[in-house]
Symmetry: C2
Subunit: 196 residues, 2 copies
DNA sequence: ACCTGAACACCGTTCAAGT
DNA sequence: ACCTGAACACCGTTCAAGT
């Protein structure tokens, strides 16, 4: 029976989670679906578009659920759910990072515009609000990609277990780094400061 | 005559600058050097090591020249020279980003340890100083990769020229984003504050 | 409309064998 | 010590032709 776009994304997401981003190839995906490689190009213009669709799938839990707290709380909520979504699948941060450059994920665009809104609510002028949003996204993607690569390195049996108790847990470290940015936004010069 | 490690890195750097990261392949590099692909594997363990050496080459101007200013000035100086180094060659930010994950560049390690020192000088405790350093590096790489991809998009003849005058110039935007982080470090709670 | 088959133009890496 | 030749096991993408 017919190949649907959904099924392709489903299988791609499974492949990613089971074998990692290096094994998420168009040919492997086609083989796994029992079709010829060319068949995928009826449903997707190219691999970038396919990866964009997978990114949208991963980011789904990060886009539903709006918060109406003050701007700091909104930034934290967005970034927490974003990180969780990235961690929920193998190489999630790396895949979404690759997608950020191509601009092929609508979910990522949604997250960016919400962060931009939060920055504007903090009193950052319109021109700089977008920059703040991208800076925050880069932080979340960078931190989580680091974290995820260490998880996979450790899973391959490297870590002595001791170092892990000396350091803070990743969630607290993530919040610490994010606070650097949020604090920066709160104190950045040139912004009309709106209390609360 | 014999192929030296230096010559391979030279040619790789040229290839990168002339044709971009997608065309920097082991086979292409070997062809350009007039050797067989296997020859490269006498001098480099794998492509990651080669890319690490190219990254070190690119980052050379960013590692010589120490500053002894206060910590804020040091962070700004490091990041300014780092961005300039990345911008000096095609896809510089993308190549160095890829290398950050593999840990195959000693130059990048040097930059990271200097940023860690600066964070420590700001009063950030030892555990968090490394995190601050990585956060800053992620910012510089993320910002510059964005900037560079736009430059290349524009060079391909897309931009209407108007939008570019409405926005601030990239160097000022870069400084703005960096100030977010520096300000955050200066105000982050829990650090023993050393004035000046 | 949707897919196959086959081709095109490539990859990174290994390794016996040569000099 | 340093390199070749050839192989191995792949890639993404296109497109005439089929149903």
């Amino acid at each position: 029976m017919q190949l649907r776009r959904r099924d392709v994304v489903d299988k791609a997401a499974r492949l990613l989670d089971d074998y990692g981003i290096a094994d998420l190839t168009m040919r492997r995906l086609a083989r796994e679906l029992g079709v010829s490689p060319g068949a995928l190009y009826w449903h997707f213009a190219d691999k970038q578009e396919l990866l964009g669709a997978v990114a949208d799938r991963i980011l789904e839990p990060a886009v539903d659920g709006q918060s109406d707290a003050e701007w700091q709380g909104r930034i934290h909520a967005i970034c927490r759910t974003l990180r969780n979504a990235l961690l929920s699948t193998t190489d999630g941060a790396e895949l979404v990072s690759a997608t950020l450059a191509t601009g092929k994920s609508t979910a990522l665009a949604t997250v960016l515009s919400r962060l931009t809104d939060a920055a504007a609510a903090a009193g950052v002028d319109a021109d700089h609000a977008g920059l703040v949003a991208r800076t925050i996204i880069h932080y979340v993607l960078g931190f989580t990609a680091d974290e995820q690569s260490r998880i996979q390195w450790d899973a391959a049996g490297a870590l002595p277990e001791e170092q892990s108790i000396l350091n803070e847990d990743p969630t607290a470290r993530f919040a610490f780094g994010l606070d650097l940015l949020v604090t920066g936004v709160a104190h950045v010069p040139g912004a009309r400061r709106v209390s609360r």
